[in-house]
Amino acid sequence: MPNEPRKRYVSTIVEVEGRDERKVVETPAFDVPPWSEQEQLGIVGTRATRVDAPTKVAGRATYTSDVTLPGMLHAVLVRAPLGPGRVEQLDVAAARAVPGVVDVITAADLTRPTKLSGILLFDPAILYAGQPVAAVCAESREAAAAGAAALAPVVPSSRPVLDPLVKAANDDADVVERGDVERGLREANVVVRREYRTPSQLHTALEPHGAVAQYDGDRLTIWESTQGVFRVRDEVARALSMPRSAVRVLMDYMGGGFGAKNHAGPHTIAAALFAQRTGRPVRCVLDREGEQIDTGHRPATVQQVTLGARQDGRLTAIIADTWVALGAGGWEGGPAQIFHQMYSCPNVRTTERFAYTHSQPMQAFRGPGHTEGAFALERALDTAAQELGIDPLEIRLRNFAARDELKDREFSSNNLRRCYAEAAERFGWTTRESRRTAASSPTARRGFGMAAQVWPAGGGPPAHATLTMHSDGTAEVLSGTQDLGTGARTILAQIAAESLGARLADVRVVIGDTERTPYAGNSWGSMTTPSVGPAVRMASVDARGKMLEAAAELLECHPDDLDARDSRISTRDGARSITFAEVMKRIGNVMIAGHGTRGPNEQKLGLMSFGAQFAEVEVDSETGHVRVLRIVAAHDVGRVINPTLAESQLEGGILQGLGFALFEERMLDAASGLPLNPTMHDYKIPTLADTPEIEAWCVGTVDARANHLGARGLAEPPVIPTAPAIANAVADALGVDLTEIPLTPWRVLAAQQRRRQQSPS
């Protein structure tokens, strides 16, 4: 299938969660024809069951905390009780004297100063309560905990600064502006001005962060619950001053990530150092409190939003001045971008101020920035619609963005209007008033709301895969990606089976091994399907070509006369055929392998996933309690590889958005900075009892310009519009304005109180 010679490496722009990076990437060795809308596919697009579900339901999936090695030691991190301040005492001798304690590491024991999420590891200068100051390893976890207690760090602390408005008052702002917002406001018939607030949300994966490390003299092996094995490898190699090639990072199964597991953490470096120092394997898994107080969060925001709109609802100006409470480190991910790309508006100005506050560093949390921004934008737009007497769906349709106005480019494909139409139809949007009186008690009020979403989800290079045929005729796909629970293993197997012409059961996908699997990037930015998927397809097409050539020799015909399906190669007239197993048996123990590469995206093209969600709620006007009855969600993600898995992703995102809307809020004591709800009892995530009826699907389209699969990403999009859709429904139910989430009963009652004061009845 090779074509004319082409340049093997090219410089290209790769977009990750809206940020552009220039990279030199490998171009594919040959062109893989795109799967068009008409393509007859037998495995891709079907509701195949998750390939690893049998392993998981049997309890046989091995997570990092299940890795147990002979002679293994147990390590715990020791945390500053308070902050900010400076560690004045750390009783290493007392810790070492505890029976069972084997080793202690403080800043002085590090190979080199190591920054993780912007924080110097074990630095005596403490920025927040809970910051790690040391680590202890021992024969048992109990002994390690006793050693940690004996270290008893003393940190005289001063009052923390937690308010982003105070901390960032004089900081430089990131300003993005186009058009003339002042003129836009002058042209407006109605102007909405509000200050919105969103809370710090905690990822709260069921499996805490953890690592197991083993050192064999010059090589280090790390098992880590991570979204990026190669990134962890690079960070560990750097911290220990080892060559990258001497560090192997493995991740088979992981218990959720949601953005919190993109890097090596203090636990990783501690386990690695202890393994190197003691010569024994070491496990370091965080306890739940450590997980909640020091593995990242969706940063809280304050967003002052001004919208100007004409009588017909068309937006004339959008201004968003935002403050983001990052914590002590992390990266500067803010809410601005969605204000530029969600709706068409000629005059937009956003400012983002990033406040480094005295709490744990932020980490990306599913749909970072957009999820926070969507709450403010979608509430403000509903408020404008109300003042103009325009239906919420209608005002969104009138402001539909047909192109990416921020980056002045086309979208590869945009079926948001179809999402609106399908979801509105299923929800019964136009007939909703007939359901308003169906409230279940005299104090209950029914309400209806909606919101929309845009998210950069095109994926991109680099990503590589190989497909190897075993001598029994089964195929093994290798790619150094991760499956967080998203179903990546399954959809890659479907893509490979389809492209190779194999039965799904004959394909095994091996991921997450920096030594044995070819490079793929972090599983973030809804990138895995559109980045790794095309590489897997190309590897499979490459291997298929070789299988057909081998079969042609055996069947004494031309490869072009052959086709492969269900692990069998047949002549097109069906007269002769041979199974994959027979081909591999007859040609003996030779290797048939294909290699696949993710090529660059078409430049100057916006690769975005879109969606719309509708919420029906019931609010008790006396208690302020909100119950979400129903969420209807339609999303446009291009080709769907597996509708069942796609729906599971949508439902999961919606439930995390529901938690964000109703009760998830990390609380810090204002005086001490101490986390007040570092447990799953006090920090509430949705339970089965909070689960509404969810109807979620992807509108059936193929994005032929995105990549040769026609697929974009969908993991993050569903979390983005849920909270504003719910808040809009609650506001509708009570006739109140809501500017802050989560919508605790207290906040709902306060909103009612404000309304009564404004318009005494």
Binding site: A53, K56, Y63, Q656, I685
Partner: protein
């Protein structure tokens, strides 16, 4: 102490204060029960004690002397999965899978008590098992499908 685990009687020396979860995972190498919080909040450690679903992280091993424990490793019949396990696969009630053993054991205990549970009973019985991936809608469908077949 004596403990029957997945039908097999075990003689164990266990210190006071050691949790059943720790005995199962660290002593008996049954790693299907997970430590998600170790404070009785998430349900990932759920096992059956004489048929009742309990949080093994909050249960002292010594308090189980003479009793019978079933873990996820013990619910299938040889290589044939339990009906609830099959339903979880068929309905995609599994995402990352970390909470799944606990969810399945809680569902098995529910269906033992009440083979035809109402939606309310399912909600009540399953709300002590958290899932951050959001498999709840699929868990409801999986349990209802088994109940429907009963």
């Amino acid at each position: 102490m004596k403990l029957t685990v997945n039908g097999r009687e075990r003689e164990l020396e266990v210190e006071p204060g050691v949790s059943l979860l720790s005995v199962l995972r660290d002593r008996l190498h049954l790693s299907g029960a997970k430590a998600g919080c170790e404070r009785g909040e998430c349900g990932a450690c759920t096992v059956l004690l004489d048929g009742q679903n309990i949080y093994s992280c909050l249960t002292l091993a010594r308090a189980c002397d003479g009793r019978s424990v079933t873990t996820i490793e013990g619910v299938s019949n040889g290589s044939e999965l339990h009906a609830v396990q099959r339903a979880f696969i068929a309905h995609d009630a599994v995402q990352c899978g970390f909470c799944t053993p606990g969810q399945i054991l809680a569902a098995i205990a529910l269906l033992e008590r009440d083979p035809g549970p109402s939606r309310e009973s399912i909600v009540h019985a399953m709300s002590g098992n958290l899932c951050r991936c959001g498999t709840y809608p699929k868990i409801i469908r999986a349990i209802e499908s088994v109940a429907g077949d009963a």
